[in-house]
C-alpha cells in the first residue's frame, strides 16, 4: 500500500510495516555495533570538517547580522561595513526602529496577521481534521478527496488574484490570511493523529453522553498537543514569512507586513519612513548608523522563528514524519 493510500485510509504510515523503526538509543549509551569496523581517522576528520562547515554556514551570517545591528557608527566605519567581531553593544538602532514609523507599524501588522491567521487556521484545520477522521462517517471519502485533490490542481495566479480582489479583499489584511488559511498537508497530519487515538476512548465518551465537540475538545486535543503545536508553528511561520501575497494584494504601505518592508528597505534600497527623530538617550549615538538599522530589521524578522523553534523542535521527528512522508 502506498504511503499516500495509508494516509487516505487514516493510518500512520510506516516506511516498512514489517520492520518498525527501532527504539531510540539512550543518550551516551555505547552505540557502535560490535560487527562494525572502527572508523578511519581520515573519514572521521572529513566528516567533522563537513559538518562544522555546514553549521558555520548557517550560524555565521546570523552572527554577523546580529553583531552589526548592535554596532556603533565608529565600529561600522572602521570595518567598512558588516561587523564580525563585536566591540560594544549599541541599542540605538532598535530604539530608532521601535520609536514609531513604518517599521514599527510593519511589526505590528505582521504580529496581528500571524496571531489572527494562526488561530483561524488552527481552529479550522483541527475541526476539519476531526470531521473527517471517522472512518465510517457520511461523505467522509468524497470530502477527503476534495481536500486531497488540491495537491494535484494548480489554480493559477491570475484567477486567484481575480477571486481575491473580486471578494473585495484588496488592501485588506484578510487577503493575507484567508487564501492560505487551510494547508491540506497540515490537515492530513492532524487527521492521521486523530485516527490513531483508540476508538474505545471515543466510544466510552459517547456512552457517557459526550457530543462530537466535547470529544474533540476533551479527548482528542489533549492527546495530540504535540502535533498541534508543530502544525501551529508551521502556520505561524507561514504567516510571519508571507511576502508575495502582500505584493499582490496590499498596495497601502501602512499595511505592509515586515517582510515587505525588509524587501523594499534592504533589498531594493529604499529608505523607510522612520520617524527621523534622533534617539535621545544619554550615552547613545544620536542617529543610529543606517546599516545597523537595516540589520536590526533583519534581526527582528528572524527573531520569532528562532524563539519558537526550540520549543517545538523536539516534536518534529514525532509530528512531522507522519506528514513529511507525503512530501
Amino acid at each position: 500500500m502506498s504511503i499516500a493510500t495509508q494516509l487516505i485510509r487514516g493510518r500512520r504510515p510506516k516506511l516498512d510495516p514489517a520492520n518498525p523503526p527501532p527504539r531510540r538509543r539512550r543518550r551516551g549509551a555505547p552505540a557502535r555495533p560490535v560487527w562494525e569496523e572502527p572508523p578511519s581517522p581520515i573519514g572521521q576528520g572529513l566528516k567533522g570538517v563537513v559538518l562544522t562547515a555546514m553549521v558555520l554556514a548557517v550560524l555565521f551570517p546570523m552572527w554577523t547580522v546580529l553583531v552589526t545591528s548592535l554596532a556603533s557608527r565608529e565600529t561600522i566605519n572602521a570595518t567598512g561595513g558588516m561587523v564580525v567581531v563585536p566591540r560594544e553593544i549599541d541599542l540605538s538602532a532598535y530604539v530608532n526602529i521601535f520609536s514609531g514609523g513604518q517599521i514599527s507599524r510593519a511589526v505590528w501588522v505582521s504580529t496581528l496577521v500571524t496571531v489572527v491567521g494562526t488561530t483561524v487556521s488552527l481552529v479550522l484545520t483541527v475541526l476539519a481534521a476531526y470531521g473527517m477522521s471517522r472512518r465510517d462517517s457520511v461523505a467522509h471519502r468524497p470530502l477527503l478527496f476534495l481536500f486531497l485533490l488540491t495537491f494535484l490542481i494548480y489554480p493559477g495566479m491570475v484567477p486567484s488574484y481575480l477571486v481575491v480582489t473580486g471578494l473585495g479583499l484588496k488592501n485588506s489584511l484578510w487577503a493575507l490570511i484567508l487564501p492560505t488559511a487551510i494547508s491540506v498537508f497540515n490537515l492530513v497530519v492532524i487527521r492521521a493523529f486523530f485516527m490513531n487515538v483508540p476508538g474505545e476512548l471515543v466510544d466510552a465518551a459517547r456512552i457517557d453522553g459526550a457530543g462530537e465537540f466535547r470529544i474533540l475538545w476533551q479527548i482528542m486535543l489533549p492527546l495530540s498537543r504535540a502535533v498541534i503545536a508543530v502544525v501551529g508553528l508551521f502556520y505561524a511561520v507561514g504567516y510571519w514569512n508571507a511576502y508575495f501575497n502582500s505584493v499582490l494584494y496590499i498596495d497601502d504601505n501602512d499595511k505592509w507586513p515586515i517582510q515587505r518592508v525588509l524587501q523594499s528597505y534592504i533589498l531594493a534600497g529604499q529608505s523607510p519612513s522612520v520617524t527621523g527623530a534622533p534617539v535621545n538617550i544619554p550615552g547613545v549615538t544620536a542617529y543610529p548608523p543606517t546599516l545597523a538599522v537595516k540589520m536590526a530589521v533583519v534581526v527582528i524578522t528572524v527573531l520569532p522563528a528562532i524563539i519558537i523553534f526550540p520549543f517545538v523542535q523536539r516534536h518534529f521527528t514525532k509530528g512531522v514524519i507522519t506528514g513529511a512522508v507525503k512530501g
Partner: protein, 326 residues
C-alpha cells in the same frame, strides 16, 4: 474514489453489510460535516473557484463590463485559443519556460541528492546529542522567508557585503556574486541548498532509521565493507522515498518558486531570472492582461498535472509505489 459503502469498510470490517440508512447516518454525523464545512468552503472559494475561473483563458476578459467580477466573466467575449496564440508567439514566454526548465534540471542534479547525502552523514553520527545540535542548526533556515535568505546572501556575498568588503581590504577588485546573470543559476541553487537541505534530510533520516539493522549485521558477517553496505542496503532502503520525492519534484518542474526570483530579478535582469511565475506576474497581473495570464497559468497547471501522472505511471512500471497507487 466514489465511495460505495462496502469498499470503504472493506478493510476495517466492523459495519460490513449492515449499515444504518443514509438518513440515520446523516442525523448521527451532521456535527462532523459541520466541522469540516468551513475549511471545505475556504478551499472551494480560494482553490476550486479560481480553478474554474481558468476559463477566462479562453476569453477576452474585461473586468469592467459588469458590476462585479462574476458579471464581467459572463459578459466577456469568448475568443477561443486567441490568448494562447498571443502567449506562444511571445519570445519572452519561451525564455521564461526555458529558464524554468533549466533551473529545475540544474537543481535536480545539484540539489536533490544533497539531502540524501546529509541524511546518511547525520545518521552515521553516533552521539545523539551532537546529532541533535547539528540537526537543529541545519533545520533552522527552512523557517526563514525568502526575503531573509536573499538578504543574508546579499550581506555576505553582495556588492556591499562582507566578501566584497574583505576583497577591497586585500586590494582586490570586489565582485558581486548577487548581480551576475551568468552565475545566477548557481546562486539560486546555493540559496535553496542553504535554506532547505537540512529540512529535506528529515524524511531520509526517517527512512534510514526504518532500515533493519540485522541486514547490516548479516552483510558485515558476509564480509561486505562500509561502502558495499551503503550501496546494497542503505540506498535500496531509501529507494521508495527517493522515487516518491523525485516524482513530486517532477510534477513541480514548472514551478521553481516565485519569491526567490521576484526578489532577485531586478539585480540580475529579466534574461536570467524570469521564470514562469514571474512572467505571469509582470506580463499579466501588472499590465492587467488577464486572459493571457490565465492562459499561462493553465499551461503550467496542465503540464504539471500531466508530468506528475506520467511520472507516477513510470514509477509503477519500475515497480515502485509512487504517490498514489493504481
Amino acid at each position: 474514489m466514489t465511495s460505495t459503502d462496502t469498499s470503504v469498510t472493506a478493510g476495517s470490517g466492523d459495519h460490513r453489510g449492515r449499515r444504518p440508512p443514509l438518513r440515520a447516518r446523516l442525523r448521527r454525523d451532521w456535527p462532523l460535516l459541520a466541522m469540516a464545512a468551513p475549511a471545505a468552503l475556504l478551499l472551494v472559494v480560494f482553490h476550486y473557484l479560481p480553478t474554474v475561473g481558468n476559463v477566462i483563458a479562453f476569453q477576452d476578459y474585461n473586468p469592467w463590463v459588469g458590476d462585479n467580477a462574476f458579471e464581467a466573466f459572463i459578459y466577456s467575449e469568448w475568443i477561443g485559443f486567441g490568448n494562447f496564440e498571443t502567449l506562444f508567439r511571445d519570445p519572452a514566454f519561451w525564455d521564461a519556460v526555458r529558464n524554468t526548465l533549466t533551473i529545475t534540471a540544474f537543481q535536480l542534479v545539484f540539489f536533490f541528492p544533497l539531502p540524501i547525502l546529509l541524511a546518511i552523514l547525520l545518521h552515521s553520527i553516533l552521539s545523539g546529542r551532537i546529532r541533535g545540535i547539528i540537526q537543529s542548526v541545519v533545520y533552522l533556515p527552512h523557517f526563514f522567508s525568502w526575503v531573509l535568505v536573499v538578504t543574508f546572501f546579499m550581506q555576505m556575498l553582495g556588492g556591499a557585503g562582507l566578501l566584497a568588503q574583505r576583497m577591497r581590504e586585500a586590494g582586490l577588485q570586489p565582485m558581486s556574486i548577487m548581480s551576475n546573470p551568468d552565475t545566477f543559476i548557481v546562486l539560486v541553487t546555493a540559496e535553496s541548498v542553504w535554506k532547505d537541505v537540512g529540512w529535506g534530510a528529515i524524511i531520509f533520516l526517517a527512512a534510514l532509521s526504518a532500515i533493519d539493522q540485522n541486514l547490516y549485521e548479516a552483510a558485515a558477517a558476509d564480509g561486505a565493507g562500509r561502502w558495499r553496505r551503503l550501496w546494497h542496503i542503505t540506498l535500496p532502503g531509501l529507494r521508495p522515498v527517493i522515487v516518491l520525492l523525485l516524482i513530486l519534484r517532477l510534477g513541480d518542474a514548472l514551478s521553481v518558486g516565485f519569491e526567490q526570483f521576484i526578489l532577485q530579478r531586478e539585480a540580475v535582469g529579466r534574461q536570467a531570472a524570469e521564470v514562469l511565475d514571474t512572467y505571469v506576474y509582470y506580463q499579466a497581473i501588472i499590465p492587467q492582461q488577464w486572459g493571457m495570464g490565465a492562459a499561462a497559468g493553465l499551461f503550467k497547471g496542465v503540464i504539471g498535472l500531466v508530468l506528475i501522472i506520467a511520472a507516477n505511471k513510470f514509477a509503477h512500471r519500475i515497480g515502485e509505489q509512487g504517490v498514489y497507487s493504481r
